[in-house]
């Protein structure tokens, strides 16, 4: 195959360029400033995150990507308020984030539905805790279950649902309390490829139609490019921002764009950022020591 001549990922079509200009004029929802996080380990203090800067605008879709150990999960847990930070600040609508709050919804990678509650009761759970009455909560829950297309399953239990359906319920549950921002920690990581692709399309459809800003963690490059307006690329040891990429693929996204020049250019850039010098130290020990174990005179002596 001949080497494809790709444009630079920085070359944005005029429509995309125009969109980013408008996007950056929207109000800032989340602002992360000089964020740092140190852990105490038996080997002494380790820096998990160092000097993280970024901001998201209203109704933006931001993906966070990086090699394992870059602290992307730590970052989203800090945003959710599940973990404390050592320095810097996190501002949501200008307010400092300290601890969890109902202004942030979270979808975890594991299926975190309550297995002893039905789909409807799962979605109602947060609403009732937020002080909504039973009937009001039920009404809102029904609406959200309809939105994610699970109205036939509202009285089913989580163990009766497939992985994709469970995550749809989890998304409905997170959105039902009307958070300002939706935090998603590799939500589709445990799904098979087809379900994953369908869930990505669903998520874009939901995002398009409601007022929600999404911060989405993934390690899948295609997923990041397909979903995101901008991609925050982190690097490991310590976790630092490597680049904030504006995805040049035009919106709205379709599956056909996976092979478009902009998509491939962005993917190539992400690959060089996340897997630099592929051929040197990374693959030490990756060479197999195979020897021929099929007799030369075997009836199928070669598979070629």
């Amino acid at each position: 195959m001949t080497q494809l001549q790709l444009p630079s990922y920085l070359d944005q079509p005029p429509a995309v360029k125009d969109r980013f200009t408008r996007l950056k004029q929207r109000p800032v929802i989340l602002k992360v400033d000089a964020l740092g996080k140190q852990f105490d380990t038996p080997q002494g203090p380790t820096t998990a995150l160092q000097d993280i800067h970024f901001q998201t605008h209203r109704r933006e879709f931001l993906c966070v990507i990086g090699p394992s150990g870059c602290g992307k999960s730590t970052l989203i847990r800090i945003l959710a308020g599940l973990e404390t930070y050592s320095s810097g600040q996190v501002l949501l609508d200008g307010q400092a984030v300290n601890g969890p709050g109902s202004d942030r919804g979270m979808v975890f990678q594991g299926y975190t539905l309550f297995p002893w509650l039905t789909v409807k009761k799962n979605v109602m759970f947060g609403l009732e805790r937020a002080g909504k009455g039973r009937t009001a909560a039920e009404e809102v829950a029904r609406e959200w279950i309809n939105l994610v297309g699970l109205e036939k399953f509202e009285d089913s239990y989580p163990h009766q649902l497939s992985g994709g359906m469970k995550q749809r319920v989890a998304i409905a549950r997170a959105l039902a309390t009307q958070p300002r921002i939706l935090l998603m920690d590799e939500p589709f990581g445990a799904l098979d490829a087809q379900t994953r692709a369908r869930m990505q399309a669903y998520l874009l459809e939901i995002w398009k139609n409601i007022d929600i800003t999404i911060v989405f963690i993934t390690h899948d490059l295609d997923e990041a490019i397909y979903l995101a307006d901008r991609i925050l690329v982190l690097k490991a040891h310590p976790g630092e921002v490597q680049e904030l990429i504006e995805v040049p693929v035009p919106q709205p996204r379709t599956v056909e764009q996976f092979l478009s020049p902009e998509f491939l250019a962005t993917k190539k850039r992400l690959e060089t950022l996340i897997h630099p010098n592929r051929d040197t130290h990374e693959n030490v020990g990756e060479q197999l020591h195979m020897v021929r174990m099929v007799p030369l005179d075997d009836s199928v002596s070669s598979i070629f």
């Binding site: 599940l82 969890p100 919804g105 979270m106 594991g110 309550f114 297995p115 947060g126 805790r129 163990h159």
Partner: protein
């Protein structure tokens, strides 16, 4: 009559069409299930009865030959007859008592005297069936008391590692103690502390029930602790995201999540409690099935061994039914539908 015949013919024709449509594979499968679930256990039971009746003939004891199934069955019937006879005697007694009360009223005796007559109780000996109910009531009382104590302790020690490390050595120390070692202590403590002119419960009942409690505590505490401390971190994160307070978190997330493990503990506890109770009744001469067994042993008649055997089988059957009951509860409360409970 005519209509009955009509409906019969109607049914038969329907049945015939059913049989023609059912394919042979379903029939074969149903048959193989029948064989597996009914025939195999039945055959095993018959073999057991055969071995028992043959083997028992060869064991000569000082109370005669060890009883076979037939002799045991005979004694079971006779125990039932004795129970009925005793009941009839009791009924007759109360009937006579009522007549005396009526007569006293008619004669215009003072109320105090009438009350005294009416308050008399029948004092016949307790039959085998009375003993069964005494034992059941005692074990349930001891078990429920133990559960009421153990579940909160288990939840607390599952949620707090500090409390767990404080309690764990004590639990490990007391868990292996035999009920019979507790019994003298419990007897003395109950005698010393439970002093009342008009006791609501008899001392023997309390002694047995507390002994059961002391042995029922541990499996429930341990399993509840494990269940609570094993609540998924993700679910706890959800509770933090929703900013639940401790009480809501406990009631809405931790308890439901730990419920299957709690029931495992409760089921183990009840099984242990039932075994402990029989031994305690035997040793302390407290009313119940254990006392029945011991009394028959001391009695030493030619029927005693067969009657003890009846008691053994009934104890086993009740233990089995208690366990099945707990299993049904466990199944209905368990949200983990993938777990195979048996």
């Amino acid at each position: 009559m005519a209509s009955l015949t009509d409906s019969n013919t109607f049914n038969f024709s329907r049945l015939g069409s059913y049989f023609s449509t059912i394919n042979s594979i379903t029939v074969a499968k149903a048959l193989s299930n029948l064989v597996k679930n009914l025939m195999v256990p039945l055959i095993a039971f018959l073999i057991f009865l055969g071995l028992w009746s043959v083997g028992a003939k060869h064991v000569q004891t000082s109370l005669g030959v060890l009883p076979g199934p037939a002799k045991v069955w005979e004694q079971a019937i006779s125990l039932y007859d004795e129970h009925k006879a005793e009941r009839a005697k009791a009924d007759a007694f109360y009937e006579r008592l009522q007549k005396r009360v009526d007569k006293a009223k008619a004669d215009g005796k003072p109320q105090a005297r009438i009350d005294k007559i009416a308050s008399r109780k029948y004092t016949g000996k307790e039959t085998f069936f009375d003993q069964i109910f005494t034992s059941l009531w005692t074990v349930m009382a001891g078990f429920i008391l133990a559960s009421v104590i153990a579940i909160p302790i288990g939840i607390a020690s599952g949620m707090s590692p500090t409390l767990y490390s404080a309690l764990n050595p004590l639990i490990q120390l007391f868990k292996p103690v035999s009920p019979l070692a507790w019994l003298p202590l419990v007897t003395m403590v109950v005698s010393a502390l439970y002093v009342s002119k008009d006791p609501m419960f008899s001392k023997s009942f309390l002694t047995s029930a507390f002994t059961v409690t002391l042995c029922c505590l541990w499996p429930t505490i341990i399993n509840t602790t494990v269940g609570v401390s094993g609540v998924s971190k993700d679910l706890l994160n959800v509770s933090r995201v929703l900013r639940l307070n401790v009480l809501t978190k406990t009631l809405k997330i931790i308890v439901p999540s730990a419920l299957p493990m709690m029931f495992t503990g409760l089921r183990l506890s009840l099984g242990i409690g039932w075994m402990v109770l029989i031994a305690a009744e035997m040793l302390a001469q407290n009313p119940g099935l254990g006392k029945f067994v011991w009394d028959e042993f001391q009695n030493g008649s030619s029927n005693s061994l067969a009657r003890i055997m009846v008691a053994v089988l009934v104890i086993g059957l009740i233990g089995f039914l208690l366990d099945r009951g707990m299993l049904m509860l466990q199944r209905s409360f368990s949200w983990d539908k993938n777990a195979i409970l048996r």
